[in-house]
């Protein structure tokens, strides 16, 4: 699919930063996590993705019109977040645009944040964190922090495609997932994921505020979760819960 996707930078991020990417997906875990990071770290908006193929949606944020897919930065971190689910037709072009930008600004590593569907999530007190690294260095990083590394499985949608593209281009990256409700917003899983990021990156993001506001977030996120569920149904998301063939 040919598109006119443009990544517009109002300000350039520093080179050698960690990029954190999150799109609406399982339990909106990545998106809730990243929104909290932006707020807690008081990050500033530095750019956006735009295309005539995106749904004609303008986000009003802090009294001003804004693009649904935005870039933020602070210190050693650059964040890209989307408030619209990315359907199958746009996954390829959006990834291409993001990958070109990641390479241009020479990021040190990329963290993709998401959720891993857990059928009995209501029985889980503290969601476990699972990671998929693109290389040995990233695997060591996960091992050092005792995170579970997914050995076999499927990852669908934009997060899986992004991870594969990072791997193809020999870039350092990790897909970090917290066990979560598949189709209900899961701020509890986001809090667990943020604790993992604190551990991995030596940060001190306060997750208590997120836990306190969990119910309000769940109420406010219903419509986006409903849209995301429809998109996930078109990107073979249910396959993530299927068993891969085991051999070797």
């Amino acid at each position: 699919m040919k598109t006119d996707i443009q990544l517009v930078e109002r300000e350039k991020p520093e080179e050698g930063t960690t990029a954190v990417l999150a799109f609406p997906d399982v339990g909106l875990v990545g998106l809730i996590s990243v929104k909290h990071i932006i707020k807690e770290m008081e990050m500033r908006e530095i750019g956006y993705l735009t295309s005539s193929d995106f749904p004609p949606i303008t986000v009003v944020h802090e009294k001003r019109p804004s693009h649904p897919i935005r870039l933020y930065k602070d210190g050693g971190f650059t964040v890209l977040t989307s408030e619209i689910p990315i359907g199958p037709n746009l996954i390829g072009p959006v990834i291409e645009s993001i990958m070109n930008w990641l390479e241009r600004v020479n990021v040190e590593k990329t963290l993709i944040l998401g959720g891993l569907p857990h059928q009995n999530r209501t029985e889980v007190d503290e969601p476990e964190i699972h990671g998929v690294p693109t290389n040995e260095n990233m695997e060591s990083l996960l091992n050092d922090k005792n995170f579970h590394i997914l050995e076999e499985g499927f990852i669908s949608g934009i997060n899986g495609a992004l991870l594969l593209k990072l791997s193809d281009r020999e870039a350092s990256g990790i897909y970090l997932m917290a066990e979560a409700h598949r189709n209900y917003p899961d701020p509890g899983a986001a809090a667990s994921l943020l604790q993992a990021i604190n551990d991995l990156e030596g940060l001190n993001i306060n997750v208590e505020e997120l836990r306190k506001k969990a119910e309000e977030i769940k109420v406010a996120a219903r419509d986006l979760m409903r849209q995301t569920k429809e998109t996930m149904q078109n990107t073979a998301k249910s396959q993530e819960e299927e068993m891969p063939i085991m051999y070797g």
Binding site: D53, P55, G87, N183, P185, V219, A220, R222, E230
Partner: protein, 122 residues
């Protein structure tokens, strides 16, 4: 890309009743219909579930009013105080044999499908 059939669009809130539409999931096994609903800001005591042969109605009072002051439109002035949803079931169920649990804000209702009669082959 999101393609929303606007003619089928129903808002997830009802200003007149001051209620919100909860997210639900529905799945079916050989002998059960299982409905779950996400009910944040709700205590177990304030949930009312009514099962009929082909429908399930969930009503739940919230423990606090929710107001979306920063949103646009008329609903920014409304203090929402409950969830309400009527769910069409994919099979006829036996309403006497329903079970419900509520854990970590998620309601789960298990409804047994009505058993059919065996037919002998002549």
């Amino acid at each position: 890309m999101i393609i929303m059939a606007e003619e089928n669009y129903t808002p997830s809130w009802d200003i007149g009743r001051r209620c919100l539409n909860p997210l639900i999931e529905l799945r079916e096994t050989e002998d059960e219909v299982i409905v779950t609903a996400d009910l944040p800001c709700v205590d177990k005591e304030n949930i009312e579930i009514t099962a009929e042969e082909k429908t399930l109605t969930i009503k739940a009072e919230m423990r606090k009013d929710i107001q979306f002051k920063s949103w646009g439109g008329a609903h920014r002035k409304v203090r929402f105080n409950s969830f309400r949803r009527r769910v069409s079931l994919p099979a006829i169920v036996d309403t006497d044999e329903a079970e419900a649990t509520f854990k970590r804000g998620i309601l789960e209702v298990r409804l047994r499908k009505r058993k059919g009669s065996k037919i002998k082959i002549q």
